[in-house]
Symmetry: C2
Subunit: 337 residues, 2 copies
Amino acid sequence: MPVGTKGTVKGLTPGDLRSVGAGIVLGNTYHLYLRPGTDLVREAGGLHAFTGWHGPMLTDSGGYQVFSLAETRRISEKGVEFASVYDGSLQVFTPELTTKVQEDLGADITMVLDECPPANASREYHAESLRRTARWAERCKEAHGRWDQALFGIVQGGLYPDLREESLSRTVEIGFPGYAVGGLSVGEPREEMLESLSLTAPMLPADKPRYFMGIGDPVGILEVIALGVDMFDCVLPTRLARHGAAMTARGRINLRNAKHRRDLGPLDPECSCEACTGYSRAYLAHLVREDELLGHRLLTLHNVRFTVELCRRAREEILVGGFEEWSRAWMTRYTST
Amino acid sequence: MPVGTKGTVKGLTPGDLRSVGAGIVLGNTYHLYLRPGTDLVREAGGLHAFTGWHGPMLTDSGGYQVFSLAETRRISEKGVEFASVYDGSLQVFTPELTTKVQEDLGADITMVLDECPPANASREYHAESLRRTARWAERCKEAHGRWDQALFGIVQGGLYPDLREESLSRTVEIGFPGYAVGGLSVGEPREEMLESLSLTAPMLPADKPRYFMGIGDPVGILEVIALGVDMFDCVLPTRLARHGAAMTARGRINLRNAKHRRDLGPLDPECSCEACTGYSRAYLAHLVREDELLGHRLLTLHNVRFTVELCRRAREEILVGGFEEWSRAWMTRYTST
C-alpha cells in the first residue's frame, strides 16, 4: 500500500496510482483528523470522494503517530493524550474516538487503536501494554458500526515470543476480519523483528488477511511475504523518491550521483512506467539536482510502480508454486550491485 | 507560452501540457547552458528529445537573465561578461555563442542576444545600447545556420518613442522571420510600457509574428493582444500556482484564504481541467496549506490551462471580429471581484 499520509500520495494523482497498478492506498488518521479535520472529510463524502481515489483504502488508527511523533503523551486505560505536531494543542485518542473518526473518513479497512511501545521497554511494560491494547481492541469492535467497513485487529507484544502469542490469542479471540502485526515501528532490530514475525504469522488465522505494518524495502517485502504476510505499507518508496533515489531490479540508485548525469538510457530498462519510458536517466538526474517538482513526481511514480510490480510478481509466483526460487534469485540480483 | 525555465514547466509533464492545449513552450538558454549544460542536451538530441516535449519550443537568448539575475556584468562590443548564479563562475555570452547554444538546444524559435537596460537608464545609454543590440542582432543572424530554426529579432529602446523607432527600423532592416519587443523586463511602469508598445507594434511588419516578452497576467495579455501582439510568455501562471493562487474568470483567488477551506465546489466552475473536474476547492486548499506537491502540480496545471484557454478564446474572437467587445466584458468580470 502506497502511503497517502495527508490524503495524497505525495505528487501523484489517483489516475497516476491507477496507471501503476496500485490496488489500495493508505491514509493516516492522525494527520487527517488534525488537518483538514474529520468534519470536512465527512462532509465531502469521505476520503474517497475528498481525494478522488475511488479504489480500496485503508486508514490506520493514528496510534503509531501518537507514539512516534509526539514527545508528550500520557497513556491511561481510557486512551492516550498527546500534543498535536501541528500546533501543540492537547488531543485525546480513545478507542471509541479513533473508530468513529475512521468511520467518518470512510476507508474500506480501518484499524483498532493500539499502543506501540518501544522495543526496549521492559517485559513487564510490554505485557501490560498488550493487555491494554487487547481491551482497546474490544472497545473498538464494540464502537464500530459501519457494515461496509472492515475493522482489523493488531497483534503487539514486542520481541517476546510468549507475549506475542498472548497478544495474538487475545486479539483472535475478540475476532476480526483481518489481523495486523505491529512491525518495525519503534526501532526493533530487523533480524529480531523477522524472527518474532516468523513465530507469530503461522498462528494467525489462515483464512484472514495478514497485514505487517511498516515495511517497504524490496528485500523486506519478500521476506515478510515468505512468512505468510499479505499486506504491508511503507513510506519508503515515496520518501526515497523525494531524496532522488530510485529502486531498480539491480538495486537502489541515487540520481544525485555524478555517474548518472550523462546517462541517456532509461532509469530502469525493465520498467514500463512513465518515468522510465518517457525520459532518460540524465533528464531525471537533472530534475533531481535542480530540485524540480517533476523530478519528485516522476521518481515517486516509478518507485510506487516498482513496489507494486514486485508484489504483483510475487503473487504470480506464489500461485504457480515458484515463489521461493524466484524470490531468492530476485534478491541476489537486487543486492549484488 | 508557459515557461519551462530549466527544461520543465514546473511540476508538469509534456502530456499535461498537451492536455491543457499548450501550443508552444519556452526554455531559458541561460539556465540550460549552465545546468545541465548544452553538451548534454545536444547529445540527448536537443531539448525536445531531452524533455519529452515534442511540440513547438522557443528559447530566449539568455540576455534577460544576464541583466536581471547577475549583479556583476560587463558589457562590451564583443558581448557580456557575467557571474553564474549557480556557482559565481565567470561566463561570457557573445551573439555568436548564444546563437550556437540555441542551435544546440534545438528549439524551433530562437532569439538574438540583446541588452535589456533598466528603464531608468539615461537616454544616451538607451541610444548606445539599442545600436549595440542591433549590431549584435546582425552578428546573430550571420552566425545562425540552422534552416529548421527561426531566429527572431528584438526591438529595444526603452520608453523613448524615437529610440524605439530607431531600434525597430534597424532590426527590421536586418530582417527576421519574427520580432520581439522587450517588455516589462526591467521595471518599466506598466502604463508607459503599454504606451510605448502602442507606438512600436503598428510599425512592425504585419506579416511576421510579434512577440512581447514577459507578460502573463490575463488583463495584460488582453491589452497587448489589442495592440497587435501574437506571442507572449510569463512565469506568472506557474509561479502563482506555487504560491497557492489560482486564476479564475472571476479574478485571482488565494487558496490559503480561510474562506476556501470548506468550499466543496470546484476551483473554477468554468474550467474543464483535471484540477477543476477531479477535486474540490477544499481539497486543493488542504493540499496548498500542507504544501503538498500535488497542490503545486494541480494549480500549475489549472493556471496554465486558464491562460492558454484565454488566448484560444481571444484568437477565436479576433477571427469573428468580436475581440474588442468580448475582451472588455471579460476584463470587467475578471477585475470586478
